[in-house]
């Protein structure tokens, strides 16, 4: 069998932390097939792929591409070998257009000049060939996350990659977008591209991959043909034991009190014809999970920013326990009781150069100050306790940037839950988390709910929204097109939500 790539006995140790990220890891992928690389957070998947893409150098081991031994010491070398990677955190220039991003580094020139027209034409052709809902001239900053990811894939296609690495590509996509992505991947495989998909979503592994390599604790625990292994076995191998997936919607016993209310919130964008949020009203109650579903670009991102105080509404009011808090800054909201887990954990949710301890206290540094001075012993004690309570791997003095994505999310969750007063906004709380960590987040959420906290859950993971929410508001075009609760919600499936999310079904707002 001809292999697109073979990695043999790869060893990678990080001397700063002493972490053995890859311990004699081997992996191989036949040409024109899809390999799923599965494992928990910190299992070493990303490190292995960074080595393959030339972002990290292995301490030991060898790599062969198309049967030939190679040394990949930079992404440029990887590109020359036909290897392309789409990162979990997208690497695009927001100010540039789609076609500018796609051709970046491979600019289309006519003599010495850049040829914009030819560039746009080439990229448009590429977009049409793969049926992406994009325009070559659009500015990337105005795209949804799903679309941005498509731009990343286009970038790779433009470079004629033969081996495409995707790092958790479905993490932020809506159900329908995932289907579209998979269709694209299948089409690429037909054209001879080999694909490695980093993921820990069991269903996706089954649906899309031909082969499966499972990692745990920096080692490979097994490589399989996907057809020959079932989901339970995969999950057992990933976490080392079988996990229950069901979460019970346990209830809160107290009174149904309103905590947060939005009234007729409208958000106009400069130069846009349609408002980003249009006359949005809802209430969040104590001991209740209010779920929000919507395809990217339909207002959920704006809702998140509005609730966090980053944008101010053009019209309408926000009430917190009866008090008008419309237009409060993040600082004022923090004082009045906001706890908020943002979807963008690196740019908004943490300071990667600062220590874990300092990230944990940044929202309430006043509590750790005496006479204007930081109480360092108190900070360390608090941080050590929180890190232990939430099973976060890392020392109080370590930089947040040295943690894995999953651990960073756990840290943010821990900080916000500790900060919590009576409501919390969770946006994509389990994005990039493995099964076990997600489950612990769900349990935390249900625990908060029992304690009478109002939870607002914005998530593109519809399984999660359906499993946890007591009510679900579906957004389409900046409006709430459906508010499902009670029996209607019980009967709802992902397909039902999907129909509302795509604007196929409207109305049905029961109002609150």
């Amino acid at each position: 069998m001809a292999y697109a790539v073979e990695m043999v006995n790869i060893v990678k140790r990080y001397p700063e932390t002493g972490v053995l990220a890859n311990n004699k890891v081997s992996l191989s992928l036949p040409k024109g097939k899809i390999l799923a690389l599965a494992g928990e957070n910190g299992a070493g998947k990303s490190t292995l792929m960074k080595i393959l893409y030339g972002l990290e150098l292995p301490d030991e081991g060898s790599i062969a591409v198309n049967g030939e031994g190679v040394k990949i010491d930079s992404p440029l070398v990887a590109n020359k070998l036909g290897i392309g990677m789409v990162h979990q955190h997208l690497m695009l220039i927001d100010q540039f257009s789609v076609s500018e991003n796609v051709t970046l580094g491979q600019e289309v020139t006519k003599g010495l000049r850049l040829s914009h027209r030819q560039r746009d034409a080439e990229v448009t052709a590429l977009i049409e060939r793969h049926n992406f809902p994009l325009k070559a001239e659009e500015r990337v900053g105005e795209l949804t996350l799903g679309q941005k990811q498509q731009v990343e894939i286009l970038k790779m296609l433009y470079r004629n990659v033969e081996l495409l690495i995707l790092d958790e590509p479905t993490a932020l996509l809506a159900e329908q977008e995932v289907d579209a992505l998979f269709a694209t991947l299948r089409e690429l495989v037909v054209k001879g591209v080999s694909i490695i998909l980093i993921t820990h979503k069991l269903r996706e592994i089954k649906v899309i991959s031909d082969y499966l390599t499972i990692m745990r604790g920096g080692e490979v625990v097994g490589s399989y043909k996907t057809a020959e292994i079932d989901e339970e076995e995969i999950s057992r191998l990933m976490v080392g034991r079988t996990l229950a997936f069901k979460t019970d919607k346990s209830s809160y016993q107290g009174e149904r009190e309103e905590v947060l209310r939005l009234e007729g919130i409208t958000l106009n964008a400069k130069g846009a014809k349609r408002p980003l949020l249009n006359n949005v009203s809802f209430s969040a109650f104590r001991g209740e999970v209010l779920g929000f579903a919507g395809v990217g670009g339909n207002g959920l991102g704006e809702l998140e920013s509005l609730l966090g105080g980053f944008v101010k509404p053009s019209e309408g009011h926000v009430f917190y326990n009866g008090e008008d808090i419309t237009g409060y800054s993040p600082r004022q909201l923090r004082h009045s009781g906001l706890a908020y887990v943002p979807s963008n954990r690196l740019t908004r949710g943490s300071a990667s150069q600062a220590s874990l301890a300092h990230n944990l206290i940044a929202t309430k540094v006043a509590q750790f100050t005496k006479g204007g001075l930081l109480q360092r012993r108190k900070i360390t004690a608090y941080s050590n306790k929180v890190l232990a309570d939430y099973a976060i791997k890392g020392g109080s003095d370590a930089a947040v940037g040295s943690l894995s994505g999953g651990n960073i999310q756990k840290l943010i969750l821990a900080r916000e839950i500790e900060h919590l007063h009576d409501y919390i906004i969770l946006s994509q709380p389990t994005w990039g988390l493995d099964v076990e960590s997600s489950l612990s987040v769900y349990n935390k959420m249900l625990d908060l709910k029992r304690r009478g906290v109002a939870l607002l859950l914005i998530s593109s993971n519809l399984d999660e929204v359906l499993a946890l929410s007591d009510r679900v508001a579906v957004f389409y075009g900046g409006e709430i097109v459906a508010l499902l609760e009670g029996e209607a919600l019980k009967g709802a499936t992902k397909e039902t939500l999907g129909a509302y999310m795509l604007g196929l079904k409207g109305g049905g707002v029961s109002g609150t």
């Binding site: 980053f310 943002p342 300071a351 301890a357 300092h358 930089a399």
Partner: protein
């Protein structure tokens, strides 16, 4: 938790800088061995030279603290040249009016200079806050203009006609800092500089304000989200930065020059910036970095006096340091992705 000191890297850069000295001396000097002898050993030959060499450290420390504080808060202050010169001038003028106040007069005059330069730098912070102008550009441009304005004032309205220098009147003896190592220029200014290092380090690492300032520097979006007053920390580090530059100027006058001489501080701002870069903006590291840079500076001056090279040799060394440090920093930043 913070930018870690990368000792081997710094050593490599120092070696490269020294290598640049040796190479340029061989290229530029008719008697390279004699030049090198004076370059490397000149600064250490006796009290006078050692004192002068250590004296220039003080100004470098104040200036480097100025640049570093802004950097720690996520802002650039490239206005060191003008802010040192302007601060020196204002402190000088202030002594003329304050002489009657006795013991409190010297610190008040220094503070006046610091306040002036602080406000000049904060103006750039304000422009950034209000209109999003890039402080890197505005600090530089304002500083450039400020140098010309002070040149005019020193050479015109405040010119002391009794000397042949283009300079202001001398400050009164009560303002002059005590000498430590006569006959050299070394004054208590160096001690104040070392005290300033302790204070700034304490402020950045122990105080709540310092914590917030650094958070804004690390990630302003995160700081905003956490409820830190990001707007205030666009102004405040710039003000502090300018104030330290202003102190650098004032201390130079009170300790060494005793009058604002036209363009006496030319190049000090950039040298201080080089020191801050070597130290990666950490207060403690500024002390050895300033020592190193002051030594090179004194070496160039000695080589120039006793041999046939020009003072520009220090500019070559500075350029080498800028080049390697910035490229090392950029590489680090690029490598963190993925």
């Amino acid at each position: 938790m913070e930018r870690k000191i990368d000792l081997p890297l710094i050593l490599v850069i120092i070696l490269l800088a020294l290598l640049a000295v040796v190479i340029s001396v061989f290229l530029l000097s008719g008697d390279p061995l004699r030049t090198l002898h004076y370059f490397f050993l000149g600064p250490l030959k006796g009290r006078y030279y050692i004192g002068n060499f250590l004296n220039s450290m003080g100004v470098l420390i104040f200036g480097a603290l100025g640049f570093s504080i802004a950097m720690q808060g996520g802002s650039f202050n490239l206005g060191g040249e003008g802010q040192i010169y302007g601060g020196a001038f204002v402190a000088t003028i202030a002594t003329f009016g304050l002489a009657r106040l006795g013991v409190v007069a010297p610190p008040l005059a220094l503070l006046a200079g610091a306040l002036f330069s602080g406000l000049i730098a904060a103006l750039s912070g304000f422009l950034k806050l209000r209109w999003g102008t890039n402080e890197l550009i505005t600090t530089f441009l304002i500083s450039y203009a400020l140098v010309l304005v002070v040149n005019y004032l020193v050479g015109g309205p405040f010119l002391d006609p009794t000397t042949n220098l283009i300079a202001t009147r001398k400050i009164a003896p009560q303002f002059q800092l005590a000498k430590i190592l006569e006959p050299s220029n070394l004054s208590t200014g160096l001690i104040y500089a070392l005290l300033a290092v302790v204070v700034v380090n304490f402020y950045l690492n122990r105080s709540r304000r310092g914590f917030e300032l650094k958070m804004v520097g690390f990630n302003p979006q995160f700081a905003l989200y956490s409820g830190i007053r990001v707007g205030w920390y666009t102004l405040w580090p710039m003000f502090l930065s300018g104030a330290f530059y202003g102190l650098a100027g004032g201390i130079s006058i009170f300790g060494t020059y005793h009058a604002t001489v036209k363009e006496f501080s030319s190049g000090m701002g950039w040298n201080a910036l080089a020191v801050a870069l070597i130290a990666r903006y950490r207060p403690w590291a500024i002390v050895p970095a300033a020592l190193f840079f002051a030594y090179l500076e004194a070496g160039s001056r000695n080589a120039m006096l006793h041999s046939d090279v020009t003072f520009e040799i220090i500019s070559i060394v500075q350029a080498v340091i800028f080049f390697f440090i910035t490229s090392a920093l950029l590489k680090k930043r690029g490598g963190r992705h993925g």
